[in-house]
């Protein structure tokens, strides 16, 4: 305020035009930041609306024709794409076209469930090893290596899964498991033909490997935030490190771990390329045992969109939109759930000192 008053300004510091421009910029800079920031942050909102609206419009004919049966039917018949057409509910479809998404939904949920069951304990164990077991000078590079795993392109993980891991498991691991497993519920699914390494369990393992870095690095950061005093107190009471982990460290950050797990679940549900490569991509089939070939919603979209485009009535493309909408709804629900869980946990430790 004082410097802008001509009477108090040093005569040498005259109000030149460049100085006037500088003052103009400084005065209006905040407005520029505000307007551009607001405009930019409206774009993700708009993009999301655009995606959902396009999906809904494209899926509407398929929703009308397929009805609720889409969720439970196991048929995947493109119909006679060169011959006659039928009219169902005012929608033109190729004669004999029937679509059902139950195998895709089941495959998506099964692979993601396997991935979470494997990834969650391994992630917690890894985070614990990184924070409590390894000395710091080696824990940092190893932790960085785990983070790198999160950045490896999924197509490379799929390539490794189908060329290296799958054959190894089918040749050296699965037969041993399949021949020795007792005939009791749940474990029964581990018996039977082991196939060639492309299938449900391999997909689940590959997905697990992909989401471990997400959960493990978040959990490690959470473990580092646990204050040392409660842990030392528990140790002073005579607890073993296993008991300290189970009764102090993990409960301290439980909701954060759950949030990271649900985020990993979201990634597993939507993962496309790696699963398309290692699942065997068999349409309309539910795996008879854990080694069976199958497919997921995302893998079906990527492998079928090419041939769906040859359907002159556009019904196949519309059906894929319905499948995509289904996947989008699942992943949105999972994401909001994670947000809710993480949000509730972060409210408990409110950040202090920020206006």
């Amino acid at each position: 305020m004082l410097t802008s008053n001509p009477a108090t300004v040093d005569p040498i510091r005259r109000d030149t035009s460049s100085r006037r421009i500088g003052r103009f910029v400084r005065r209006h800079e905040e407005g520029v930041w505000r307007v551009s920031g607001r405009t930019a942050s409206l774009l993700p909102v708009g993009a999301l609306l655009f995606v959902v609206i396009v999906l809904a419009i494209k899926a509407w004919p398929a929703i009308k024709v397929n009805g609720f049966g889409f969720l439970t039917s196991t048929a995947w018949l493109p119909g006679n794409t060169y011959g006659g057409v039928e009219h169902v509910h005012g929608v033109m479809i190729p004669a004999g076209a029937r679509y059902g998404a139950w195998p895709l939904i089941a495959g998506t949920l099964q692979t993601s469930a396997i991935a979470i069951i494997i990834a969650l304990p391994i992630s917690i164990g890894t985070a614990f090893a990184l924070t409590e077991r390894l000395p710091r000078w080696i824990a940092q590079p190893v932790g960085f290596f785990v983070e790198i795993l999160a950045g490896i392109p999924s197509v490379l993980i799929g390539l490794w899964g189908v060329l290296v891991l799958g054959p190894f498991l089918a040749h050296d691991v699965y037969p041993i498991v399949a021949n020795n497993v007792p005939n009791v519920p749940v474990l029964r699914y581990f018996a039977g033909s082991v196939g060639y390494g492309e299938g449900l369990l391999t997909s689940g393992l590959v997905l697990g490997l992909m989401i471990v870095p997400i959960i493990a690095s978040t959990t490690r950061d959470l473990f580092l935030q646990v204050p040392p005093l409660p842990k030392e107190g528990a140790e002073a009471l005579g607890m073993t490190d296993a008991e300290v982990a189970r009764r102090v460290t993990i409960p301290w950050v439980r909701s954060g771990i759950i949030g990271a797990t649900v985020l990993g679940l979201g990634r597993a549900l939507g993962e496309t390329i790696a699963v398309a490569m290692v699942s065997g991509s068999v349409l309309g089939a539910i795996a008879p045992n854990v080694y069976g070939t199958m497919t997921t919603i995302a893998a079906t979209i990527v492998s079928q969109l090419d041939s769906a485009a040859t359907d002159g009535t556009g019904f196949a493309v519309s059906t894929l939109a319905e499948a995509g909408l289904l996947l989008a709804v699942i992943s949105i629900v999972v994401n909001l759930l994670a947000r809710f869980i993480v949000g509730r946990s972060s409210r408990m430790s409110a950040p202090v000192g920020r206006s």
Binding site: R26, E30, G31, W33, R34, G37, R38, T39, A40, S41, P44, L48, F50, V51, K58, S123, G125, T126, A129, E132, R133, V142, E147, I148, G151, I152, P153, S154, V155, L156, I157, L159, W160, L163, V164, E235, A236, T240, D241, A242, E243, A245, L263, G266, L269, G270, T272, A298, V302, V317, A321, G324, L327, A328, S331, I332, N335, A338, G353, R354
Partner: protein, 295 residues
């Protein structure tokens, strides 16, 4: 590291549980690091024996030839993502951190945060499908650069926005108060003090976003198409090649030549991602050291 490790119980069950827990933590670390090493080494040992340097300079002929068109194509895609998603993401992050925290901006800020969160978890193939249906077919753009860039940007804007927001939030309150005490206008202080000191975090986010964009396959398959030629200057109606396409299609072609192309592309991708992530890490480590030194 826990200091007290001598006070172990003599009774069997608790002792066994502690030992089991120890085995479990080391084992899970092994189960993460082992496959990761196996993966990277597996790609390298398959690509290196057949590596020819002219892969970098010759064009692809589908399942044989070089990868120059794909390398340039991936570089163009990453540059485009850096421009589009970088601008939108950084500005979104600034808005969420600086302006959407006031009482007036909080409601709209919550909507934007939810949109960013949902978009970051959105299945990439569904985004690719929408790009194909709405942009390539609906707007008659064909397989080309612009729809690919738009879809890729939708994928990585959330990452950039989140990392920018958290980098800005880590700027100490003292800096802002100091800038205000010196009489800086809010906008000037934002540019000269807040954004400047958060710059390493922002750049790290951008590098990670670039590595994601360069390694994506699903959203590009039905938006970018593929071509044996170098990218042209036209952003519509001309398909563009990218590295991940050759990994995805050539590994199960019958010819050995195609497998070599696939592994060469894999090796280039691995090196690219490692370089980007290590540079990002070095930036973080350097700034952390400086921050600790200043305290």
């Amino acid at each position: 590291m826990s200091i007290i490790t001598t006070g172990y119980p003599k009774t069997g069950w608790r002792r066994a549980k502690a030992a089991g827990f120890r085995v479990f933590t080391w084992g899970s670390l092994l189960f993460v690091v082992g496959p990761a090493l196996w993966l990277i080494i597996g790609v390298v040992v398959r690509a290196v024996p057949n590596w020819r340097w002219n892969v970098l300079t010759t064009m692809s002929q589908g399942t044989s030839g070089g990868l120059a068109n794909a390398i340039v194509g991936t570089a163009v895609l990453m540059l485009g993502v850096l421009v589009i998603a970088g601008t939108v993401g950084v500005l979104t992050g600034i808005h969420l951190s600086e302006f959407a925290v006031s009482r007036r901006g909080r409601a709209s800020g919550a909507t934007m945060r939810i949109a960013v969160d949902v978009l970051s978890g959105f299945p990439s193939i569904v985004l690719g499908y929408v790009g194909y249906v709405a942009l390539c077919v609906g707007l008659h753009w064909g397989f080309s650069l612009l729809p690919a860039l738009i879809i890729l940007s939708m994928m990585v804007v959330p990452y950039i926005a989140k990392s920018t927001e958290s980098a800005l939030r880590q700027v100490p309150t003292n800096y802002r108060e100091g800038a205000e005490a010196l009489g800086m206008s809010t906008g000037y202080a934002l540019r000269k003090v807040v954004v400047k000191s958060a710059l390493p975090g922002i750049v790290t986010g951008l590098l990670i976003a670039l590595s994601i964009a360069g390694g994506e396959t699903a959203p590009l398959l039905y938006t970018a198409g593929v071509t044996n030629n170098l990218p042209t200057w036209s952003i519509l109606h001309h398909p563009i090649a990218y590295l991940t396409y050759y990994v995805w299609t050539d590994w199960n072609q019958p010819s050995a030549e195609a497998h070599i192309v696939s592994f060469d592309a894999s090796l280039i991708l691995v090196v690219m991602v490692l370089v980007l992530l290590i540079v990002a890490r070095v930036i973080v480590a350097r700034t952390q050291r400086h921050a600790e030194g200043a305290r």
